[in-house]
Structure formats: C-alpha cells, structure tokens
C-alpha cells in the first residue's frame, strides 16, 4: 500500500558488508576452509610418502567416498531434524543378508541385492514410523535398532552357518549384472592407456606386471558422487528440499502450514537406510564376504562428517556439499595420518581435536550468517 518503498539496499540500519565476505558466508565455508587446511598440512608433512601418487590418491579417495555415501544420507536426515545411530549396524546387517541370501539360500546375486535393499529400506521406514508416531527422540529409537540389528547380524550367521563371517560371494557374483554396478570399476580403458603412456605408475613385477597400479575408478566413488549430486539438488533446488529444512527447523510450525512432516521424516530415514545399503553392497561386492563386525561405529563417522560439514545437529540447517567435504576431510585425515606415520593410537586424539576445531569454526561462521544470536 502507500509506503515509502526505500530499497533495502539503502537501509541505514545495516552496516556495509563487502561482497566477498557475503559470497563466502555459506554453510559449506567451514568445510571448504577445512579441506584446504588439511590438504596443505598433508602436502607439507606427508608429501613424499606416496600419499599423492596415483595409488595414494585412490586410497584416500575410496575411504572418503565410503564416508560420503553414508554422510549424504545422514546429512539429509539431520537437516530433517533426526539422526540415525543404526547406520553402522545396518551396514553389517545388509551385508550379512546379501551373504545369507546368496550363499545359504543360493539365490542369484541380483535378487539377493534387491531383496536386501527392500528389507533395509523397510527397516528404515520402521525406524521413521516409530519416531514419528511415538514422538520419541530418534537417538533412542535408533539406538534400540543399533542393538537389535547388530544382534541379528551376529546371531543369524552363527545359527545358519556356524560362523560370523560368510565368504564366497565374489565367485557367486561373477557375471551378475547388478553386482557389477556395485563392485566394478569404470574407465578401465582410460587407465590402461594412462599406464601405457607412462602417465601413471605400472606394476613392475608379479603376474600383473605392466598393468597400471590404478586400473579404474571403483563404482564406490561413482556412487558417492551420484549421491552427493542427487542430495544437493534435492535439498537446494526442489520443493521437497524446502520441506526437509522446514521439518528439521520446527516440525510443529511446518505441520501448521501443511508440510507433510511425518512423510518427509520417514522418507529421510528410508534414504539413510538406502545409503547404508549402498555402502554395504559395495563392500560385499568388493571384498566378497560379509562379517558380523562390519560397519562398527560408522554411524558416528557419518555424523561427524556431517557436522564437520557445517550442519546443525538439531536440524534445519546444513548442506550436502558441506557433508561431502566433511567426509573428504575425514577420509584424508584418517589415511593421511597413516601416510605421515603418526603413532596409530594417537589417531583418536587427532580425530577428537579436529572434530572440536571444525565445529567451533562452523559455529563462528553460522553466527556470522544469522547475526549474533
């Protein structure tokens, strides 16, 4: 209506902020700074240890990609205001299910994988439904599932196969179309050419002499990148992404304006289970066996990566790119400490200190974004 429509830019109550500073202030900033710092540090302290040889790069890339896969799920779920402590147990459980289906029941691998995915996503949905229906904190509900799933992962193979590790899946998976999607490598041609051209190192002896040391990009990395792109797109560019933010920011408020909060949360629990299942399937297909100890503590690693990446533990704020950078930092630090030959029992001390440092940095950045709170 009638009003002096002074443009907000000319508001006398705002201090001038430089454009650069404005462009920098985003949830991912902490992750970006962290990544730069980490790479610089390791270039200095472990530059000559093979960490940046093609084999070394592949090594920390694979580890980071692993973290990324579960971090994407954990990130979206955390932004939606919940978190899932059963991710690690779910990884163990999914791998074990694939093994039991293929080895004990003798199903074709693609069928075992599909059924396992369906099963895990159903368990994710169950997690979500319990959280949403009872209003209990997800910490408790998923903690219960942490125990239940791990219990079954230890109990079932013992009952059926009398051991806690089931192997031989790689043989069963040979030639399977779906298994190749999780266990294969892409761009093998390119790497052979690179090796022949002398750009990357080749094996010098043994039965693979002449082949390049890195012979392709594992599907694990492809999955990680696909999930990151999907998650980022979903969160920032779609209506559903707005609902995820809203559900995590204030569920009651979101419900009032008609956001189907329960649906959003349950879907995110299912997506987290899906990511855990992708992780497990890649692992089983790469290593050919499933064990009762797989995935221990992975839930914390996922949460740590997400939090390093700038998300708010209480929901409603965060970024998938940030979580991916958090996973990268985590992976590089973990493997880099080995390259830098740090006493291995001090690894946890470093991890703790880095975590603290990262969250303090992120908090500072977030305060700049939202003004002093």
């Amino acid at each position: 209506m009638s009003d002096t429509a002074d443009a907000p830019a000319s508001d006398e109550r705002i201090k001038q902020t430089s454009a650069l500073r404005k462009a920098l202030i985003r949830p991912e900033l902490g992750g970006i700074c962290g990544t730069v710092i980490v790479f610089v540090l390791f270039a200095i302290f472990a530059g000559d240890s093979g960490m940046f040889s093609s084999q070394g790069v592949l090594n920390w890339s694979v580890v980071s990609a692993q973290f990324m896969i579960i971090a994407v799920g954990a990130c979206l779920l955390m932004i939606a205001g919940e978190f899932d402590l059963s991710v690690g147990s779910m990884i163990g459980f999914a791998g074990m299910m694939i093994a039991i289906f293929t080895i004990t029941l003798g199903w074709p691998v693609w069928q075992a994988i599909l059924i396992t995915f369906a099963l895990c996503i159903a368990i994710g949905a169950l997690n979500g439904i319990i959280v949403v229906r009872t209003g209990l904190p997800s910490f408790i509900v998923t903690l219960a599932f942490l125990f239940i799933l791990r219990g079954f992962t230890i109990y079932l193979p013992q009952l059926i196969e009398r051991k806690t590790i089931i192997g031989g899946i790689d043989k069963a998976a040979e030639g399977d179309w779906l298994a190749a999607l999780f266990g294969g490598k892409i761009l093998t041609g390119l790497f052979t050419w690179l090796g022949d051209a002398g750009i990357i190192a080749v094996f010098e002896r043994g039965n693979r002499a002449g082949e390049p040391v890195v012979d392709g990009i594992p599907m694990l990395i492809v999955w990680a990148l696909m999930l990151v792109v999907f998650g980022h797109f979903l969160l920032t560019r779609t209506k559903f992404g707005n609902w995820i933010f809203a559900s995590g920011g204030d569920a009651q408020a979101a419900r009032y304006v008609g956001v189907p909060v329960n649906r959003v949360k349950i879907l995110m629990f299912m997506f987290t289970a899906f990511c855990a299942c992708v992780f497990a399937t890649c692992q089983v297909m790469e290593f050919g066996s499933a064990g009762a100890d797989r995935g221990l503590l992975k839930e914390f690693e996922a949460i740590i990566a997400v939090v390093i990446g700038g998300a708010l533990l209480t929901g409603g704020y965060g970024s998938v790119i940030g979580a991916a950078l958090g996973a990268l930092i985590f992976g590089v630090v973990q493997q880099g400490l080995f390259f830098a030959n740090v006493e291995s029992s001090l690894f946890r001390v470093f991890l703790g200190v880095i975590l603290l440092f990262a969250v303090v940095l992120n908090t500072y950045i977030r305060r700049m974004i939202t003004g002093e709170r």
Binding site: G50, G56, N59, V62, G167, E286, R294, L296, L297, F338
Partner: protein, 294 residues
Amino acid sequence: ATASAEGERYVLVSHAPDSDSWWNTIKNGIALAGKQMNVEVEYRNPPTGDLADMARIIEQAAASSPNGIITTLADYDVLSGPIKAAVDSGVDVIIMNSGTPDQAREVGALMYVGQPEYDAGHAAGLRAKGDGVGSFLCVNHYISSPSSTERCQGFADGLGVELGNQMIDSGQDPAEIKNRVLAYLNSNPDTDAVLTLGPTSADPTLLALEENGMAGQIYFGTFDLGANIVEGIKAGTINWGIDQQPFLQAYLPVVVLTNYHRYGVLPGNNINSGPGFVTADGLEMVEKYAGEYR
C-alpha cells in the same frame, strides 16, 4: 629388490581394535626388531577392528611403498585382494598371526609366521579331552570377530562336542564378564572347564572362580598370556595358557625381511610360533615379561 642399504621401512598391519591389549606385545616385538636391525617399523590397525577398514590400510601401506608389509590374514576374502595388489606392486609380504600357510601362499606372501586359530583351539580341545573334560564354557569377549569363534569352535571340535550355547558373548567390561561367568556357572553347575580367549576375559574369570570357590576345582584353559594369567598358572588356578608367542610373530618377520632385502636369504619354510602350552613348569621368564614380550 636386494639392496644392502640400511633404513628399510616395514609396516605391520593388524586387525585388532585399538583397545585390544594383547597386541601390545606385537608392538613391542616390532619396535625391538626395528631397533636391533636398524630399520624403520610402523604399526597400524583399524581403530574399531573393522576388517574392511583394514583392507584400506593395507592399500594405504602399499601406496606409501615400503620395503615390506607384515599383515594378518583375518579374513581371506576381504584381505586377499589388497595383499595381492601390494605383492604385485613390488612389496614383499609376510603373513603373521591369523590365516593359514596355504592362504599365505595363495596371496603371494613370502611366508607365514603364526598359529592358525582353529588349529590352536583344536589342539587345546584335544588336550582337554585327554584331561577328561566333557563340557566347557567359552568366554568370548570379542564375538564380532571371526577368529574368536574359530578358537571356541576348534576347542569344541577337539573335545568332540557341539559348541551350542557353551560360548557366551561376555562383553568387555570386567564386572560384566565376571558376573556373566558367575551366572552361567550358577545355572550350569556341572560345567567341566572354562576357556577364555585372552587377558580381557581371563582376568575377571579368575576373580569369578575365586568368588564362587571353584578356583582350582574347575579345569581352566586360556589363550594368550598376561600378568594375571601367569599368576593364575603359577597358583594352579589355570591349567594351561596357549602361548602363540606374539613376540615372535612380530619380531621374526622384520628380521626375515631385513635379511632378505640385505643379503637375499630367506628361510625355506613357514614358522609356527605356536601353539605352545604354558603350564606351571618353567614360568620364570614368562612371568617376568608377561604382557610385554610374552
């Protein structure tokens, strides 16, 4: 790759989580060997004991191009790939501790130093059977790892009985282990023997037996030594400890690799570091160095 220069670098990769105290002897073993041979040694392990993480560590170790890798083969399926790749990229590998000589040959390792878990359990079972044991309780404090089950299973097979419910998942808290053992023995009073898998489960079990008065009455065998276990053996509470001599498992590979790299000499066979049964006889040295070099 025979070079006579000093300062070779060897990496030992284990499958044990950080907190597993038994691996301490291994660390001391390589440290000593490194000092004596004047080579660089490193110890690495997956913090949570996740074997998939261990595979990454072997890959990482290979990427840092050491002269040799000493690793356990806790799960052939998971670890054979990375080990083969390491061998292929020119790193010499020795398998220690877990795995079998056959598997070691298959992955292209130079040799195997250790004590296959199942066989050790089996041998212990046979010995116990000879001593008249018919039923037992296996106190498993790291159930999620496959080697623990193999020990119990081997023992059961050696006795010629079903494992069934005789293995309990005891957890790692000493009070819980103690009280679970008490609870089990309370509701199964005619158990003949107790088998523990290391100091973590053996120490509280000792206390449990003292508390319910069965110390010295019940047949008690254990894997792996520690200070309290040695004392138990001395006191007659523990009948025997299976010593796989972890010190040798760590020390010998370093020596073998160094000599191989410097002078091209290599033993012609695998080395069995165990099983050796430690009993009340000849405990002195064991006692002195238990938990450190024994």
